[in-house]
Symmetry: C2
Subunit: 421 residues, 2 copies
């Protein structure tokens, strides 16, 4: 390969990984045939609602098939194949209760605003569409994302889909909940709202009124079209930065009340037992979190040379301010490039240039949000929670939201492995 231009930035000069890339001197006759053999046939344009090509098979996978997770019907987003910050709606993670998705006729659907209001209101979907609206890019994340020890087939959680697949990011469109509440007239003494869905368990969630009046969206749109069925069609709450259980799907009513209710799931499934025997109620905001999606567990780095490391960062604290990457097992950290424009409470794509020397190493990322909150290591996380590693490993899901740094080991053979445990 011609390397007589040392002044030019050359990603490919350590060319092992990209062997056979240079074709200096190729005659244009050869060039003319390039790629032609890749065309299998020419199809006619026809589709009114298009599909992806049969060559693409990226897929959601089920959570570990334990009885608990099977009941929850959890499907994980394939983050290892993600690009940009939008998750395709077809690949958005799913977490339901009782594994059931209601099929709702939007012409029949109504949402009720009642409780401590001057006037109860009922809205049809068409009426909601006439009201002031917003569209914003927000991530959602299940409260127990990254606490799973096993992958869907029973092996150790190995890929980033296994470890982080319960978060996705969409452009959500709908009416600010504050518009509906102001229209109904919130009365003195009101302090919380109860949002209830139409799923089989009638999931109801207590949410502070302050958040309801701030930035919650009563959303009918996801990535430019109607919500997908598993995402609450035709109507859901999007509660920016809060845990997944506040993102009430198949929304049927909002009741304005004076205190939180003891709703079924929030007092059983979603309390958090503490080591001292007490239980913690209501975690709202998700803490800052990031993960390298490429290269990540289960992928292969084909050889020495240049690679762009990329991943996602997000926080319930607002916008991501900084992402740092280490490619030497945590000894040194350097700033990653962040995709702009920044969105608050959204996945944020980061990029980091890396030239691999072929030796075993560990790559990992850590982020800082607009409040200055920094993503912790596992050790730091355990310390703040007041538990030891053994306790956490055996009761992991119940220690609550885990936002620790995710290290990926790259072996000399180029395989990438989960190095957290």
């Amino acid at each position: 390969m011609n390397t007589n231009k040392p002044d030019r930035r050359r990603f490919l000069k350590n060319g092992v990984a990209l062997a056979g890339l240079a074709v200096g001197g190729m005659r244009s006759g050869v060039a003319q045939t390039l790629g032609s053999e890749a065309v299998e046939r020419h199809a006619k344009v026809a589709e009114s609602y298009g599909e992806r090509t049969r060559f693409e098979t990226v897929a959601r996978l089920p959570q570990a098939p334990t009885p608990q997770y099977q009941r929850a019907g959890i499907m994980l987003t394939p983050l290892q194949d993600s690009v940009g910050i939008i998750t395709p709606s077809s690949l958005h993670y799913i977490a339901t209760h009782n594994h059931a998705v209601p099929e709702i006729d939007p012409r029949q659907h109504r949402v009720l605003i009642h409780g401590l209001v001057d006037r109860s209101l009922v809205f049809t979907m068409e009426e909601l569409r006439c009201l002031p609206s917003v569209s914003r890019v927000h991530f959602l994340e299940c409260a127990n994302n990254s606490t799973q020890l096993l992958a869907g087939d029973g092996r150790k959680a190995e890929t980033v889909q296994d470890t982080h697949g319960k978060t996705s990011c969409s452009e959500w469109s709908g009416v600010p909940l504050s518009v509906l509440l102001k229209e109904a007239g919130v009365q003195k003494g009101a302090a919380w709202v109860i949002a209830e869905g139409l799923d089989l368990v009638k999931h109801a969630q207590s949410i502070p009124l302050e958040k309801a009046m701030d930035d919650i969206i009563v959303a009918y749109g996801q990535n430019g079209e109607a919500l997908r069925p598993e995402q609450g069609y035709p109507l859901r709450l999007v509660t920016p930065g809060f845990e997944g259980l506040y993102q009430v799907k198949w929304l049927r009513r909002i009741k304005v009340v004076d205190q939180p209710y003891m709703n079924l799931l929030e007092t059983t499934t979603y309390i958090r037992p503490m080591p001292d025997g007490k239980a913690h109620w209501f975690d709202f905001e998700l803490p800052p979190k990031s993960v390298i999606t490429r290269p990540s567990g289960g992928q292969r780095v084909p050889g020495r040379g240049f690679y762009e490391i990329t991943g996602l960062a997000w926080s319930g604290g607002g916008a991501i301010q900084r992402v740092e990457v280490s490619t030497d097992g945590g000894r040194t950290w350097k700033d990653a490039r962040i995709q702009e424009p920044l969105h608050r409470f959204a996945h944020t794509r980061f990029y980091f240039p890396w030239t691999w020397d072929g030796e075993e190493t560990v790559v990992q990322s850590r982020c800082t949000d607009e409040r200055g909150q920094v993503q912790p290591t596992l050790t730091e996380f355990l310390k703040t929670r007041g538990v030891d590693l053994n306790y956490w490993k055996t009761t992991k899901a119940r220690v609550g939201f885990f936002n620790g740094i995710q290290p990926w080991k790259v072996t000399r053979e180029g395989s990438v492995q989960n190095a957290l445990l």
Copy 2:
């Protein structure tokens, strides 16, 4: 309806349009059943790659079935149903040549960089994925969008899908073309690049080198996953702000050259005959344009009362700086609210509050981009092009890109009609 709180903003106080909305005094027993009858059944979570609900039937439609358009295989985006700024990939407009979409095996696909470079380079898809990348939200628009006089079924273009459906907006991901060109080493004397696709006509397009080194993306990702087949799978150019023909799909090679080539389509289909008998070659940037998508042609405003008017604005000149809306036939204009954050060369969603008094009127929008370019009226447009209305109506498509203001007439019955012609 209780209106004893005049200090509170009440969208619904002119309640005819939203009749039956208030249910003051509804007992909670009634409330409990709300929406339940809308549930048809509960389905199991299963899909590894999800689909939309059967209740949603929003669809692309074919362009008018004239021989010219049929050959082009054009499918129009249903902008009247759009929310936010992302167009679902399944609804992205399609404009192909010869109505044919190549099916390309990505494992076999290669792209060649050659011509006036120090070293020719060939990249596989996997090799491109290792290089520095970007993700940006950009609109695409066909050069002859809004010049069609007829809708798909032969009637006058009536809906915003008919009139403006050849523009869509996605988050595109890929490698900056400048990265590949720097890697190959651009030689002295180079001034243009020729980008060629693998479609049947081997569409090749001359593009100034300056643009190629600036912001063109060699894109493999669209809205978080691989490109759709009709959008150039597995690889296309995204040339921000330039006309559709510069967005070369099924990209197979980039040749660096010293001057534009006389490629087939750019010297036949895409020249623009002028009234003086000469032909205009190369329009690059699209001018500022906006349109109200709701309410728009073919929709119905159900009655007097509050509605949020919403629409999209975009420009090849960069970011949208301002959108104004008139609801009185153009006599007065007021600033619309613009969805943030702003993206350059992207659809920009705007919102405008409107209380309809039930009288016939015309609603329309106009935008201004970051350079201060203002969207013209039809009359202003014709003046700058030096043609009269009759000439334009009969040879509309050939006068070139039309970015005039789109007026929608709202009749006393609430029907919305194309008021441009």
